[in-house]
Amino acid sequence: MRYQNHRQDHLPQVPSMRAHARAGRLVAAAATAVAAALLGGCEMPIALDPRGPAAAEIARIWWLLFWTAVVVSVIVFTLLGFAVRRARTSARTDEPHPTSEEGARIDNRATGFVLIGGGLIPALILIAATVLTLTGLAVFDRPPDGVEHTIVVRGHMFWWEVEYPEHGVVTANEIHVPVGQPVRVELESADVIHSFWVPQLHGKIEMIPGKTNVIYMEADEAGTYFGKCAEFCGRQHANMEFLFIAQERDEFDAWLERQAADAAEPTDDIALRGRDVFVESPCAACHSVRGLTPAAAEAGPDLTHLASRRTLAARTLPNVPGNLAGWILDPQGIKPGNQMPAVNLEPDDFHALLAYLGGLR
């Protein structure tokens, strides 16, 4: 990929891990340290470092399961080790085997071990695990209190359409929510199956054509969380990511208000010309700019407040002017197989268009 060098450092960072609480926990944390050292302070979307009640509940379940698994494995390995050692010390290769009758006598004792050690005890553990699962499930069963906002997220090959129907806001690849308050997220798909996943906040749930799934998301802490499409959906499945941004209440409200507004009027001539270019070029066939184009175009992300977004093309590029230009010139080079074609523009038109898009705050 040509723009790769760009990609490396400019992406918005996901928030740093709370250093204290879970620092001791397992390898994940150790891994963070290693990775952090190598990558200069970047952080990972670690599921076991939850920032919301749902992910926290899941992490709780995980730790119980994990320790059970460790105990079970250790017991099995120990038994196996002893068995081999025991059998070895009495072993001379080619030792004659016991006859069936002899075998049968030992068998009676061994059968008890098999039934109890292999059947009963695991069954009890598994029943406990089932109870754990079911109680866990019950937590997810009831919608949380205090839901104020509903967000509709629609998966497209390979980007996310994000709608706040109560506020007339449509945006893309970036979901803003108020911190500490659950939101209702309705998940749909425009084409194939995608899957909505913010590891630090919640498990994933799929976006299926013809079906609406609902999930309640809540972030305990302000920050930017990494989100990803998890179900394979085609060529650019890897680059179908998004940012889940939890903001303080007033910040969020301000954001929502800005997004609800129509597109900014261009102030200078170049941008004005760019606006015309946009309307006349094929761009407008796929992209809407509220207040400028009729709202019909849904094949591509809504661009009304493009410049306010942090990334381009579903977290493929940081949204800086150079990248925007690169994207429009060669979307297929940057994100091969995505649904946006390269559009031929005169250099002047192109610069005007860039100026216009750059002003869409």
């Binding site: 494995s73 098999v114 498990g203 091969p336």
Partner: protein, 655 residues
């Protein structure tokens, strides 16, 4: 036709219906002549003997393991570091899809089918499978399917929607316009037919061809495993056939099974596919357990403890595994009641595994272990499989599943159970039976190195993938950004995969070297208990000079001189032995439960029709990718080959 001609005809097919038992000692030369394949190239296409066909399955399966492994290495290379560009996104998708398809359908299943075909007749004391030509047909179909898959892959149109190809991505040509998914449909369709044929053949053989005296309770555990595997195939494979056909129809003739806009439903696909998909993994795992049991008994030098409980646990696992398919798509939005049921069922499916492992440990505990390469692989199996099994239990806990579903945590789980639960047992089995297959022993030193390197390489490769999954790395991504911090563990994983591959390479070396200059194995290098170790290595085409009569579970350890309980016809075996003719391909037909002799089964001779029939089916399936007219054409051709297959029909005539 005159009476006389008819009598001749019958004679030709069956030998005389009534005759007196043969007198005198057996005549191996006559047997040799009766069972000989035709010479030369004609022979290559006409052999139907179980050992040849079984070995072909095994060798071909191994080649697919290497091919799928090389694909995996390319994937690992691409993922070694962030933002690498070793392969394109497009190629990467074909790589993981073809890797998954190859490993699941073209390596694991046929490999164990082949082992079963080779070993079941030997272990139950039959001269051949019940329907040898069916086995040959199955092999040719498998070969055609595999060639189709890899020709497609090499031409740049491999399948590209993952091994389970969820609709509508797989079923709409707007989303997957290339031929790749049509190839997926064709290759899997052919392979399923092949597997179904093998399943029927193995079941019928185990039902009807056990040596006199081999009751169900005297069947070696491996045979139980083969039986359970075959039954699972019988009930599971039709579902994937349906899934593939429906995808094929949606793509090729415009039906709307999975098109939500036209009344179809994408989640329907997942139900149909995974109704097969989950049993599929146990179809792979069950025979592997059978291999484990066989080698374990020999090298722990004692009979399996709790034999009947273990046999029952196989059956239980087979049945339970049909009730858990939903755990592969807990995240599609299922009502809580459904989630609870399938979570609980998925937990319970672990109980039979617990019993099996306890029985293995119990057997070792009370035995006297021969710690050779084969046994090392058994230890490797237990260690790795348990780790994979417990992550399976975690995955069954729904809320946690939501978190790690479709992430590298699942990739780690599936490799732990598949490599731990199938590949390691397979190597244990290969070290165990290679002497029987070839007459040579594999080199132990190389074997131990192979085990050590594979064990370390495997864990290095896949252990870290659990962590990657928990760190948010989704599966099936061709690249990732540096700032996500996944680079280090991916690099470790990639290095591990090369180590693992080196281990497998050592086996290839060992194989070639031992074949040429390995130590001679003799008939029974391990002093093993089951019948296959009573015949020369490799076994002659006719297998047993004297068809054996069975009086115990471990006939070579414990001939069971004094038949206990009620005396059956089989216990009068001495009188039965000379019945089986040597100038015709015959074996005993016995009753299902008790192994009471009922008939002499006339086995089929060399025949060209299996390969021709497979070509007819191949034309129908492969051609259908390009024009649906090939389907009726193939059907007519198939009918013609079936006429030839059954020609001259005169077997019904009485003398």
């Amino acid at each position: 036709m005159t009476q006389h001609d008819e009598a001749q005809q019958v004679h030709h097919h069956y030998g005389p219906q009534h005759s007196t038992p043969r007198e005198g000692p057996p005549d191996p030369e006559l047997l040799e002549r009766t069972w000989r394949p035709l010479p030369g190239i004609v022979g290559f296409f006409t052999v139907v003997n179980y050992s040849t066909v079984g070995m072909r399955f095994i060798v071909t399966g191994f080649i697919f393991l290497l091919l799928g492994g090389v694909q995996a290495l390319i994937m690992r290379t691409q993922l070694a570091q962030p933002n690498l560009d070793v392969v394109s996104a497009e190629l990467f998708q074909q790589l993981f899809s073809t890797h998954g398809v190859t490993m699941m359908f073209f390596f694991a299943v046929p490999m164990f089918e082949g082992l079963a075909m080779y070993l079941v007749p030997l272990m139950i004391g039959a001269r051949d499978m019940a329907m040898p030509r069916l086995g040959a047909l199955g092999y040719w179909l498998y070969l055609i399917a595999g060639i189709t898959l890899f020709v497609g892959f090499i031409l740049g149109v491999g399948p590209d929607a993952g091994w389970f190809a969820h609709a509508p991505l797989s079923s709409e040509t707007t989303f997957t316009p290339k031929l790749g998914m049509d190839i997926w449909v064709t290759a899997i369709g052919l392979l399923e037919i092949s597997a179904l044929l093998a399943a029927v053949e193995i079941i019928v053989t185990i039902f009807k061809c056990k040596a006199p005296g081999m009751s169900m309770a005297r069947m070696p555990i491996f045979v139980w495993a083969a039986l359970v595997m075959s039954f699972m195939m019988l009930f599971a494979m039709p579902a994937v056939l349906l899934a593939t056909v429906a995808v094929g129809l949606d793509r090729m003739v415009g039906t709307h099974f999975f098109n939500a806009a036209m009344g179809g439903d994408p989640t329907l696909y997942q139900h149909v596919f995974w109704f097969f998909g989950h049993p599929e993994v146990y179809i792979i795992f069950t025979p592997a357990l059978g291999v484990v049991s066989a080698a374990l008994v020999t090298f722990a030098r004692r009979p399996m403890v709790a034999y009947s409980i273990v046999a029952l646990s196989f059956v239980a696992m087979g049945i339970l595994s049909f009730g858990v398919w939903v755990h592969h798509f807990f995240a599609i939005g299922i009502p809580p009641i459904g989630l609870s049921f399938f979570a609980a069922a998925s937990m319970m499916v672990s109980i039979p595994s617990g019993i099996q492992l306890a029985a293995f440990i119990g057997t070792v505990w009370t035995g006297r272990v021969v710690l050779n390469t084969s046994f090392l692989f058994l230890i490797g199996f237990v260690v790795i499989f348990v780790m994979g099994g417990v992550t399976g239990v975690m995955l069954a806990a729904v809320p946690f599943n939501w978190q790690v579903h479709d992430s590298y945590f699942v990739v780690a789980h599936l490799h732990y159970v598949l490599i731990g639960g199938a590949l390691f047992p397979l190597f244990a089995g290969l070290f165990y039976w290679f002497p029987k297959f070839t007459g040579k022993l594999l080199n132990e030193r190389l074997g131990r190195w192979q085990f050590g390197i594979m064990f370390v390489g495997f864990n290095v490769t896949f252990f870290v993938q659990h962590i990657l999954g928990l760190q948010g790395m989704a599966r099936r991504i061709h690249t990732y950004d540096a700032d996500l911090g996944w680079g280090t563990f991916n690099l470790i994983s990639t290095i591990g995969s090369y180590v693992l591959a080196f281990g497998i390479l050592l086996f290839v070396v060992n194989f070639v070297w031992s074949l040429r200059s390995g130590r001679d194995a003799g008939i029974d290098p391990w002093k093993a208990p089951t019948l296959e170790w009573s015949v020369p290595s490799p076994p002659p085409q006719y297998t047993f000079v004297e068809p054996p009569v069975i009086r115990s579970l471990y006939p070579l350890w414990d001939p069971g001189e004094s038949p206990s309980g009620v005396e059956t016809a089989a216990d009068r075996g001495v009188a039965l032995r000379p019945q089986i003719r040597e100038d015709y391909r015959e074996t005993f037909g016995t009753s299902i439960m008790d192994g009471e002799p009922e008939s002499r089964i006339n086995l089929r001779d060399n025949s060209i029709w299996p390969v021709l029939a497979s070509l007819a089916i191949g034309i129908a399936f492969v051609g259908a990718m390009f024009s649906l007219w090939f389907f009726p054409i193939g059907a007519v051709l198939f009918f013609l080959t079936m006429l030839g297959w059954h020609w001259p029909f005169s077997k019904e005539v009485a003398s």
